[in-house]
Symmetry: C2
Subunit: 347 residues, 2 copies
DNA sequence: ATCTAGGGTGAATGCGCTTTCAGAAGAGGG
DNA sequence: CCCTCTTCTGAAAGCGCATTCACCCTAGAT
């Protein structure tokens, strides 16, 4: 910048003005400066600008590493390997955030949490953005508490954790209740098994609560805990848990309700392997509405959540809070919708 | 940071060391500092750090706005609206880059080009990263020329443009030649129509070149230009162009080869609307291998490109150049593979 | 008891830019 | 021709951190 100033015979203040407030500089001067910048290959330093102006024009997103290790390592260019090319939860949120961020003139900084201590992740992201969104379970609450005192943070999904944060979730309980009632009322099923996640997963627990509600409302026995719990909510886990469920004896359930689609797809595979027909022998449902659910056979009945909108709304919340730091914390709940497909007996 | 230093009774230099080189500080001192930081809610400024250390730990990606405006505005929660939830070209590249970046300890800054002058985009991204990837056609060559003198840039797809850039493409020509030969040799088709993009699109032109080669090799008349040209390579354009092609009279082609999948899907819709059977009446092929291609009926025969790997390799190139600025420019060509599905008569 | 290494710490400088606050240069008005 | 009012431009003070360099202290060597 100093070079540009010198070469065009002005001060660095003027060079700065040329980029920040072009109209405040006489056209002729501006041209001289731009020409010099071009010749010198000048690229303004975003860091310096950020430092001086205390604002970066960047929003951040931290998400956990959702990748399904099994699908991840499949090699070869068969159609199979397209599967993991389908969007996961985080991908859609990224997309939504990117879109909304762009609309507001922000760029998006994304970082998945690395196993090696969230220290670096948080430091790298938090220090570089004007505000950011965190997918539940990515950043330890303690860290978040510290950071959220300095800049806007919106918690996406999960539990808010810190009550001065903005928060945005989908209607997990409501959605699971709806799909459960559908199985009970429309398909007449009564022996239902719910495959949950870890007790620490607020979303999975909220879904289970919906399952409980539906059972109670239908006069079915209301379980205290999920029939089975998966530890990872991946396909492999879904497969494993479904098999375990079948193996444990007793009367076979008429339906398996999985806490998310990835597990449900794994469950579908397990049932196929056991020679059980879906939905004739047993119905299956998921939750999320990932695209893969429409590709598997039978197609997967699920609860579709507006993942992209989740990302968009997250950005909106950030932008709003950036405009008014003192407004009350907002908590948004986005509606979900039932996707009736083949795996429950519809379609 | 000054506050933290004061509160813990050390100098700012020591605070800095606690975060950058923890081992160089006595454990007891370190704890005092960290505790003070915690109490004060200290978040290190990435900007300041970047300024002082002249490195950001962030890689960037600039991509054009690929969104398909038509699918974009479809409302309602029908299954239809899942379609645009499928990954596009850019999404997969983002995914690949994110993964690879994380492996190398970088975060990823993404920004789609906004219509309002690339000025801001480039300024926002280029000044904040250690290096970045550009999808062809996103940033004007002139700007790129300037920027690439200051930091590593890798051009993804398209034409390299500036010869000192690293560059990475897929085997467009080769892939289109393969799929064309497949139609000619395996399905015995001879009247082929190629729907290209704008003459300014290097990828589309490279694919057309492959089409030409295959025609020549098979002894078919070799066209000088694509049978039709689309202006946008979106579904809507594919639909429009396919109809135009049918309407222009003359003998109907036995196959339509689209320069990408999105157009091909649009073409499929047009043919269905006209009551033409695919592949009986006319075969259709695309290029890219987007997931949507497996969902449409008939499933779309296409050339699958390793989009995620494209992103991964881009990061590798950046990392390598960051390590050795003076090495010769690299130009990589990634192989593609033929996906034979129903729309050509296979599967 | 004196000397020598080191490890640990602080003072000071600069990274490249934004942003007041004044001052200089024109433009009209009296 | 002088004075006030606009425009434009420059000087200078940071923004929050990394990093040299010098310094001090302590432990082991002599």
């Amino acid at each position: 910048m100093y070079d540009v100033a010198e070469r065009s015979g002005v001060s660095i203040a003027t060079v700065s003005r040329v980029y920040r407030t072009p109209d405040s500089v006489r056209a002729q001067t501006r041209e001289r400066v731009l020409e010099a910048a071009r010749q010198l290959g000048y690229v303004p330093s975003g860091n310096a600008r950020g430092l001086a102006s205390r604002t970066t024009g960047v929003l951040g997103l931290c998400f956990p590493d959702y990748s399904d290790p099994d699908t991840e390592n499949e090699a070869a260019a068969t159609d199979e390997d397209d599967d993991h090319a389908f969007m996961l939860y985080s991908d859609q949120i990224i997309r939504g955030m990117e879109r909304a961020a762009r609309r507001h003139g922000y760029a998006l900084l994304i970082a998945a949490s690395l196993k090696g201590g969230p220290e670096s992740l948080v430091a790298n992201v938090a220090g570089r953005v004007d505000g950011f969104a965190v997918l539940a379970g990515t950043v330890p609450t303690a860290d978040l508490e510290v950071i959220s005192r300095r800049l806007p943070v919106v918690m996406v999904a999960g539990r808010r954790g810190i009550d001065h944060l903005d928060h945005i979730v989908v209607a997990n309980t409501d959605g699971q209740r709806t799909v459960t009632r559908h199985l009970i009322e429309d398909h007449g099923l009564r022996r239902l098994a719910f495959i949950g996640g870890e007790a620490a997963s607020p979303d999975a627990e909220a879904r289970f609560a919906g399952f409980q509600q539906a059972c109670r409302e239908a006069g079915l026995p209301m379980p205290d805990a999920p029939t089975m719990r998966a530890t990872m909510m991946t396909q492999a886990e879904g497969f494993r848990v479904a098999e375990a469920l079948l193996d444990r004896g007793g009367e076979r359930p008429q339906a398996m309700l999985f806490a998310n689609d990835q597990m449900a797809v794994g469950g579908l595979h397990a049932l196929e392997r056991r020679g059980l027909g879906v939905p004739e022998d047993i119905a299956v449902t998921g939750f999320d509405g990932i695209p893969l659910g429409r590709l598997v056979r039978p197609t997967l009945t699920t609860v579709r959540q507006p993942m992209r909108r989740l990302g968009e709304e997250a950005v909106e919340l950030l932008v709003q809070r950036l405009a008014d730091r003192d407004r009350d914390p907002v908590s948004l709940m986005l509606p979900v919708s039932l996707a009736r497909r083949a795996s429950c007996g519809c379609g």
